[in-house]
């Protein structure tokens, strides 16, 4: 294959700027429809108010779209940015990319982060963000050549592959001049599943020098891959510069080295005796979640299962290739990005191929595994591989499949409606066939690929499903499928999922243990405070280019003696120091929260601008709050009966199961409304969930076009 098979549509020459304290000082705009390629300056106001990463994504997207823009309108954008600290090699987990777009699942803004090399390479090639707009007539590749100072838009031939693991090798052949050059390349791709479903993900590559092959990390949530393929983008390709420790040209490299060395020692000392991320990654969570009745089993009906040991961390530790430096960015000693090498594919179009499976990580194991009643590692690996290469979010697929399986067992679906598939819980072969149908764009896979919210409507309209039942058990909010934690006994985490901007993804807040196990958040006000602090703290990772995992997945035990051990303030201090070291900007702990609040509130207003984002849109399915069916009640009958006695002063012995469930429902739904009131108040929003003009002014984001949006709802 040679580059001559590509047809250049547009080119843009630029002088690569010197990175200054973490910023390139410009963003890249590419319209794949018109061929327009331009540079936009990064203003001081952008840096001060929105920092980078998700903040830059939102700011660029806000100006790129109109009030009525839908996900499949040409003016919708895919925006990707790392952040000022992205590309730091001295501190673990400092190479994240954050992608954003208007989501086909939620019709509001989605943000999703991934590891891999793209974001830092993009910055070091001269761009703090890339903003892709328009819709191409035929498939294209956007190529950012840092060393060459060129951005090019190429039309690719019709035989260019689409599925990520094949496309990646094709891109290497096209754009790598030699073996050494492969390390300088990073890609963003999707897959055939992204073309046929609304739950498409983006794959972010990294070239693994030890394996001499490509690896991928996923920005999975919200269907950004679908937007990507709708624009007929095959890939974003960046060629960066050889990675060194000072490419950010930080203000105080010595400070970064010192703080980084302390953290690296902490990881080396404590990870082997704590979560063992370096050998098991996030799979360690599977057994723990089961032990605490928090592992989603059979569409979140249950929280544990006797077969969980078949898919727990020990199993994956034995399957992952050990002894390789599995960081997804240089210098990350947490190194949780494990892989299973030489997996011989058993089904589908790549049957018989030997491939690398990136993962599986906890969310995938729980999503396509326990939540679907599947406890077979081979099936989890197979679905992990195909979801990735087809460009499908494993979480939406897993949670969606769990919903479809319960609908099948409830009689809403039958083989006639599923193209002959018996979608009982545990049927891995049937689940895989749906996945292949999504890749091919046919059969039940087309209905399934719409996501749970649209499946519910379809099942009601076409299959006569009971609306209340499917709405109760369909685990989505705002249109996004839930990630993989059971929340029935944690009101705070019900809010952690429901009171989010993008939908139920746990990267905003994860409070189950503080609330359900520790009982540290007994009042609405306690929960509201946690639902203010933790979402804002976690938002900050995505502004700067940091990964959340080194914050709390390995911790020096001295933290136990601190005044606020849940916040792990000595790690917060590390991040503050790295931020100061890179940018030269002195900030306090309060400044960190304020920086996030600006972006968080802008995103809330953005959602309102798009016709959502109000109280009604923060509703959650009842299964996330309590038992929907008698089978669920019976599984925890002792606990539920005791709660009736303690909470409501009722005598369960004198009640039918239906009466007991109704009493629980009334109580739990009232509590959720009480939580909403408290959280909105703490966040400075009206009782309808609208940020007030005063709040926007206090945050310094009272731009006229922003204030205009909220005024319509006051």
């Amino acid at each position: 294959m040679s580059k001559s098979t590509l047809k250049m549509l547009a080119a843009f020459g630029y002088e690569v700027p010197t990175i200054d304290r973490g910023y390139a000082g410009q963003t890249l705009y590419v319209n794949v429809g018109s061929g327009t390629i331009t540079a936009k300056p990064v203003t001081e106001d952008m840096k001060t108010k929105f920092i980078g990463g998700r903040g830059f994504d939102l700011w660029l997207l806000w100006h790129g779209v109109k009030d009525g823009t839908k996900w499949n309108d040409p003016e919708n954008e895919v925006v990707i940015s790392s952040g000022p600290c992205g590309g730091t090699t001295q501190y673990p987990g400092s190479g994240k990319s954050i992608a954003a777009a208007i989501s086909p699942l939620t019709d509001v803004v989605i943000d999703s982060n991934a590891g891999g090399h793209f974001g830092p390479y993009l910055k070091f090639a001269g761009w703090d963000a890339i903003e892709v707009q328009g819709k191409a007539e035929r498939d294209v590749v956007v190529y950012i050549n840092g060393p060459g100072g060129q951005v090019q838009l190429w039309e690719v031939p019709e035989d260019c592959p689409t599925d990520t693991h094949v496309l990646g090798h094709w891109l290497l052949e096209q754009f790598a001049d030699d073996e050494q050059d492969k390390q300088q390349l990073a890609f963003v791709t999707a897959g055939t599943g992204s073309e046929h479903t609304l739950m498409g993900c983006l794959n972010f590559s990294l070239y693994d020098r030890k394996r001499q092959d490509l690896r991928y990390k996923q920005a999975g949530r919200g269907g950004i891959g679908t937007v990507f393929r709708h624009k007929k983008i095959k890939a974003l390709v960046v060629k960066g510069f050889p990675v060194k420790g000072n490419l950010n040209h930080p203000a105080d490299l010595e400070r970064i080295v010192r703080v980084g060395a302390d953290m690296q020692r902490e990881v080396a000392t404590w990870d082997p005796v704590q979560n063992r991320m370096r050998s098991r990654g996030t799979s360690y969570l599977v057994q723990i979640m089961d032990d605490y009745d928090l592992l989603p089993v059979m569409n979140y009906k249950f929280g544990s299962h006797p077969e969980t040991p078949k898919i727990n961390g020990d199993i994956w530790e034995a399957r992952y290739t050990q002894g390789l430096p599995d960081g997804c960015w240089y210098g990350c000693t947490v190194a949780c990005a494990h892989a299973v090498d030489n997996w011989k594919v058993r089904t589908g179009p790549y049957k018989g191929s030997c491939v690398i499976v990136d993962g599986p990580e906890y969310e995938t194991i729980a999503g396509v595994g326990s939540n679907c009643g599947i406890f077979e590692p081979w099936a989890i690996l197979e679905m992990n591989f195909y979801c990735d290469t087809y460009g499908i979010d494993t979480i939406s697929f897993g949670t969606g499949m769990a919903f479809a399986m319960e609908c099948y067992e409830a009689g809403i679906l039958d083989p006639e409606k599923t193209c002959g598939l018996e979608l009982n819980f545990g049927n891995a072969e049937a689940a895989l066939e749906v996945l292949h149908q999504m890749g091919r764009g046919e059969g039940f896979g087309l209905i399934f690929g719409l996501g749970i919210r649209k499946m519910k409507t379809y099942f009601i309209e076409h299959f006569g499903a009971d609306p209340q039942f499917v709405n109760d058990i369909g685990m989505e909010a705002k249109g996004l499928e839930y990630s993989e934690y059971l929340t029935k006994e944690s009101l705070a985490q019900q809010g952690g999922y429901g009171l989010t901007n993008k939908g139920p993804q746990h990267d905003e807040a994860w409070l189950i243990f503080m609330d359900q196990v520790n009982n540290e958040l007994p009042t609405f006000e306690d929960k509201a405070e946690a639902l203010h602090y933790f979402p804002m703290w976690r938002t900050w990772f995505g502004l700067c280019g940091f990964c959340k995992l080194p914050w709390n997945d390995v911790v020096d035990p001295k933290n136990k003696l601190s005044s606020e051990p849940q916040k792990i303030m000595h790690h917060v201090e590390n991040y503050r120091q790295i931020f100061i070291g890179v940018t030269g900007q002195e900030i306090t702990y309060d400044d960190i929260i304020t920086q996030s609040e600006r972006v968080y509130n802008l995103q809330r207003v953005f959602n309102i601008r798009l016709g959502h984002g109000l109280r009604d849109h923060d509703a959650i399915p009842y299964r996330s709050a309590g038992p929907v069916i008698e089978e669920e009640y019976h599984s925890r009958e002792e606990r539920y009966d005791q709660q009736l006695r303690e909470w409501l002063n009722l005598d369960p012995a004198a009640m039918t199961v239906a009466e007991k469930m109704a009493a629980h429902r009334q109580y739990r739904e009232d509590r959720y409304e009480g939580l909403i009131d408290a959280v909105y108040k703490r966040r400075g929003w009206t009782n309808n969930g609208v940020p007030t003009p005063e709040k926007l002014q206090a945050l310094g984001i009272d731009y006229p076009e922003v204030v205009e949006v909220v005024k319509r709802h006051l």
């Binding site: 704590q274 032990d291 605490y292 990630s483 409070l511 243990f513």
Partner: protein, 66 residues
């Protein structure tokens, strides 16, 4: 009877150790702080430390992130 985290009641028995209590509760997460009537129990003393009847036991899990 002892109380766990100001909420859960657990039947006490003579000789109950902290480790036995954690095992019974399936508290397997490694980052925890255990106090008995306000006194910190060190991690390496879980096997030896016994829990008195009517104790106020706190088991704080230091996990704020999945």
């Amino acid at each position: 009877m002892i109380t766990i985290n100001k909420r859960q009641q657990v039947t006490w028995y003579a000789g109950m150790t902290v480790q036995a209590l954690l095992d019974a509760l399936k508290y397997s997460y490694p980052h925890i702080i255990v106090t008995i009537n306000g006194d910190l129990v060190k991690h390496d003393a879980y096997e030896q430390t016994t829990v008195p009847d009517e104790a106020d036991v706190r088991v704080i899990h230091l996990i704020a992130g999945g």
